[in-house]
Amino acid sequence: MTAAIRTRGLGVTFPSRQGAVRALHNLDLTVEPGTVFGFLGPNGAGKTTAIQVLLGFIQATTGTAALFGEPVTESIARERIGYLTENPDTYTFLSGRELLTMTGRLFRMSGRQIRLRTGQLLEETGLTAVADRRIAGYSRGMRQRICMAQALMNDPDLLILDEPTGGLDPLGRMEVRRLIAARRAAGKTVFFSSHELSEVELVCDRVAILVGGELAAEGRVDELIRPGESLERYFIELATSKNRGKEQR
C-alpha cells in the first residue's frame, strides 16, 4: 500500500547572513495510511519546516518527499489532503458558506457536491446558524471551526494538523480530539504536530520526535516508553541528551 507520507533524506537549509541555517537534516519518515501519527519536537526542532515542505510552501534542499506517492512539488499531491493550523487565518470578508463553496471549487467539486458537503460540515461544526454571516464577525472558536470545516471539505485521506490545539480553550481542544477520533474511525490518516504531549499520548498510534532538525526517535508510543513512564518524561530526556550531545561535539 502506498504510504500517506514518505520522505527520504529530506533536508532544508536556509541562507542567512550568519551563514546557512540547517533546519532539517536527512529526515526519513514513513506514515502508513489509517494511522494517527504524532510529530513532536521542541521549539525550532524543524517540525513546521517539514510540514511546510510537505505542503509545498518551501522547497527541500536535499532529499525527496511524497504524499500518496505523488511528489510534493506537484499540486496533484494535495488533492487528498486537508490542512489545519492553530491560526484561523482565512478570508474574513467571506461568509462561512462562501468560504466552503470556494474551497469546493478549488477541489473541482460539482455544484451539487459542494452544496451537500457544505451543509453537512456546517451542521457538524455547529455553524449552520451563522453560515451566511461574514467570518469577520465570528469568535476565535468559530473561526477555528470554520477552518476545520474547510480542511475537511474534500474528505481528505490525510489530515495534516500543525499544532492545532495551541491557543485553544479546553472545549476547543476537545473539539480537535473529537475530530482526530472521527478521522481515525473513518480509516483516514492524521499527521499531528504538537507540543501537548498528553494530547499526543492520548490520540496517536505512532510518534516521531525531532530534535535539532534530526529524527531522534520513531515508533509506537508503548514501544518508546517504559511501563509507568510518561511520554513527556521520555521526550524531555531525549531532547536534553540529544542537545547535550550536540553541545559536546
Binding site: 511546510q52 470578508f93 471549487r105 477541489f107
Partner: protein, 262 residues
Amino acid sequence: MRRMMAIAGIVWLEMLRKKDVYVLFILLAALLLSMVSLNVLGFGQISGYVKDLGLLSAWLLGWILTINISVRLLPQEHTRGTIFSLLAKPVSRREVLVGKWMGAWSVVCVAVLSFYLATWVVVLLRGGSFDAITLLQAFLLHITALAIVAAIGVAFSTRLNSDAAATLTYVVTGTTFILLPRIPALLVAEKGVRTTALLALYYALPHFELFDLRQRLVHGWGPSSWVILSRVMLYGTLMTGLFLLLAWLGYRHRRFSRGDLL
C-alpha cells in the same frame, strides 16, 4: 480554469465587500462632474473638449485603479496568512497568479466600461456623438493595455510589498507610455552601445501608445482597420503573457514561511 475562476471570484467578492467599489463610484462622479463643469469655462457647446477630457479621465482612472488593485492581491494573501490555506489546496502557483490577474483585470474592465458609458452619456447630453464602432475599438484596445499593466503589477508584487510594487509599476508604465514613442527621435543623435540599449528598450517594453485611440474618437476619423486592431490586440496579449511568465518565474520557488509573519 475552474480553480483560476474561483480565485478571481475571491478578488471580486473582496472588492465588493471591502467597499473598494465605492471608490470607483466616487471616481465616476468626479469624472461626470468635471465634464459638466466645462460649461463654467465657456466650452459647453464644444463636445470635442468633453470627449477629450472624458477619455483622458478614463485612461488616468483606469491606470490608477489597475495598479492599485493588481499590486496588492498577492502581498495581502501573505500578510493575512491566507496564502497557506490556499497553497495547501491542489492549486499551483501558476493558477494563483493567473487567477489573481484575472480577478484584477476583470474588475478593471467593468470599471473602464462604466467610465466609457458615462463619457458617452455626457457627450450625448452635450449634443455631440461618438462613432459606436470606433468607441468599441477604443474600449477593446484600452482594456488590452490595462491587461499588460495588471500583469506588470502582479509581476512586481511577487517579490515586493504592495507599496514598492505600486511605485515601480507607476514608474515603469508611466515612463513607457510617455517616453517609448520618442526613442526613434533620440536614436538619431546616439551611437554605439547607447543605440543598442535604446533599441533593446524600444522592443522589450510595451508600446502603450498603440492602444490609444483617443485622437481618432475625438476628431471623428472613423474606425480603425480590424486587421490592424487584431494585430495590436495580439501584441497586447503576448506582452501580458510575457509579464505573467516573468511573474511566475519570480513566484514559483518563493518560500512561504509562517515565521515571516511574526
